[in-house]
């Protein structure tokens, strides 16, 4: 682990697929980075970009949004809207020159415990490489 950096990553997981997938990763005793804290929402479509922007500006080193695969949304189409909103957020931050690598949108189904582990580890690895979110220490935010 690099220079004592303990990232703070927040994962918004949809109740039906990704949260179940994360539980399954638990049941399989996979290793998930402790830096990832999960916030359960009913649908990835509930995660509005302002919420994600708030997380980032308040110093989250990474924000993961995970939901059902397209077509599998428990609420029919919430994940499609989630993706649109995520695209908007990403483009906005990119245009402003802010880190978009700190954001990830992934589809993880209820049976993909393994995949959840992979996504979580990959993302945490990515964040370790990026280092701390500079917004953490900005008084002027």
């Amino acid at each position: 682990m690099g220079e004592g950096f303990t990232p703070r990553i927040v994962g918004f997981l949809c109740n039906w697929c990704s949260y179940a997938g994360a539980d399954l990763a638990g049941a399989a005793k996979l290793e998930i980075p402790a830096s990832l804290s999960v916030i359960r929402v009913m649908c990835s479509g509930r995660v509005d970009p302002v919420l994600v922007a708030t997380a980032l500006l308040q110093g989250a080193d990474g924000v993961l949004i995970a939901g059902c695969h397209p077509g599998d949304c428990h609420y029919r189409e919430g994940n499609y809207y989630a993706r649109r909103r995520f695209a908007l957020l990403k483009k906005t931050l990119e245009t402003l020159g802010l880190d978009t690598e700190r954001l990830m949108l992934a589809w993880v189904s209820a049976s993909e415990g393994q995949r959840f582990g992979e996504v979580a580890n990959q993302f945490a690895g990515q964040i370790m490489e990026l280092g701390p979110n500079p917004m953490k220490t900005k008084i002027s935010l």
Partner: protein, 426 residues
């Protein structure tokens, strides 16, 4: 009808999707439901699939909320490891004897933490995984199986073979392992019975020409379903025994159709689904399908077929006469309608077998006193007019117990049995 009869409990046999759906509807209306299942888990065959046609829905995601709803429903009493022993009485007043095998796990104490698996010294083939992985003698069939309760397999458990092993018991922090449990006999009074015992796969071992279980690289469709499954033996990685990904696959349809004498309705679509899935995972994979007639009824199915075809899958209308090993690959010999013979090389062969009635169908039919069709499925009272009723008043059938069918039809039949049972119009 008496009020008592109208509100009598219902017995549902089989906790696949048909049994689950029927139970949920009946319970929601206020009926008490006994749902009996011979295995230790619910979800039947569907939970073995990674994705289902035609929308490639994730099967677990689809079923899990229903499973959870079922387990939480206070009107439903789930009896796993249970089978019907005897039935007497008539509609509105059946008396059913159930035998519930001991699982040797105290359901109140067990929290499903799986700490008992590791210490178990026994390793046997995992049937749920089509024998592609091993399991212990105390086990759950796969991660995420519901209810999340292990079971001890007395056939393989050392203790039940007379040895003094209590490794699992020692590992359990909750005193949940109870070797003294006994099989139980229950007598249920019910007003109606739903038979939802599902299907089995035609035993490919009955054929010899395809080299099944003899040649590496020859798989049954169900084995491939598990290999595709993200919670399966390879976590969804498509590999040959060598550990490498296949480069070419031949799918052989209608295996056992001639022997069984009927079209199993769903296999063409299931094969197309596998093509879709494999192409997604391995875009370079060369896939060839051998078929005689494409049976893709349903408004959305042809479109699916076209999409698969456009993704680069070859379709050859021919009879496969044999599969043999040549050099590093497999050779699929086939004969077209016109009688031309040819050979195709592939490093993986998938056999897509017919669906047949569950193994215990005859026994159950006898106990319930309902006729079976000549193919061994349970018979409807009048095939046109009462498709989910049987010759026995008060006994209904749903899903593949009646004949091969897809998930939508199965669910519709399950709902129809609920409709018939809840109807007060007689």
């Amino acid at each position: 009808m008496t009020d008592k009869k109208e509100n009598a409990p219902v017995l549902v046999i089989g906790a696949g999707i048909a049994g689950i759906e029927a139970s949920l509807l009946l319970a929601n209306s206020g009926r008490k439901v006994y749902l009996i299942e011979k295995t230790s888990y619910i979800g039947g065959n569907v939970i073995k699939f990674e994705e289902v046609f035609p929308n490639m829905d994730c099967a677990t995601c689809m079923i899990a909320p229903k499973q959870q709803e079922l387990l939480a429903d206070e009107n439903i009493e789930l009896l796993t490891l249970s089978q019907v022993e005897a039935v007497s009485g008539a509609a509105g007043d059946f008396s059913v004897k159930i035998k519930q095998k001991a699982g040797y796990i105290d359901l109140v104490n067990c929290i499903g933490c799986s700490a008992c698996f590791d210490p178990c010294p026994v390793e046997v083939d995992n049937e749920f995984e089509e024998g592609l992985t091993k399991r212990k003698a105390v086990y759950i069939p796969c991660a995420g199986a519901l209810p999340n309760v292990p079971v001890i397999d007395t056939e393989n458990c050392l203790r039940f073979k007379g040895q003094d092993c209590q490794a699992c018991q020692e590992a359990c922090a909750f005193e949940a392992i109870d070797f003294n449990q006994q099989d139980k006999e229950l007598e249920l009074k019910v007003g109606a019975i739903v038979v939802a015992t599902g299907f089995s796969m035609f035993d490919i071992n009955k054929t010899s020409q395809y080299g099944y279980k003899k040649l590496g690289g020859v798989y049954s469709a169900m084995e491939i379903e598990r290999i595709c499954a993200s919670n399966g033996p390879t976590q969804g990685q498509i590999t040959l025994q060598s550990g490498e990904a296949p480069k070419s696959v031949a799918i052989i349809n209608c295996v056992g159709r001639e022997e069984k004498g009927y079209c199993s309705s769903v296999c063409c679509m299931a094969a197309l689904k596998l093509c879709h899935f494999l192409k997604n995972k391995l875009p370079e994979l060369k896939i060839t399908q051998f078929y005689s007639d494409l049976c893709i009824p349903g408004k959305a199915y042809q479109q699916f077929y076209q999409k698969v075809k456009e993704s680069g899958v070859d379709f050859i209308r021919a009879e496969v006469t044999g599969v043999s090993e040549s050099a590093k690959e497999l050779a699929v010999k086939y004969k077209t309608d016109e009688g031309k013979e040819n050979t195709l090389a592939a490093d993986m062969v998938i056999l897509n077998p017919a669906l047949e009635p569950g193994a215990d169908s005859a026994k159950l039919a006898g106990m319930l006193n309902i006729p079976q069709s000549r193919e061994g499925f349970f018979s409807e009272k009048e095939p046109d007019l009462t498709p989910v009723a049987t010759a026995q008043d008060g006994i209904f059938i749903a899903g593949c117990a009646q004949g091969p069918k897809d998930i939508a039809e199965t669910i519709a039949e399950a709902e129809a049995t609920a409709g018939r049972i809840l109807s007060r119009s007689g």
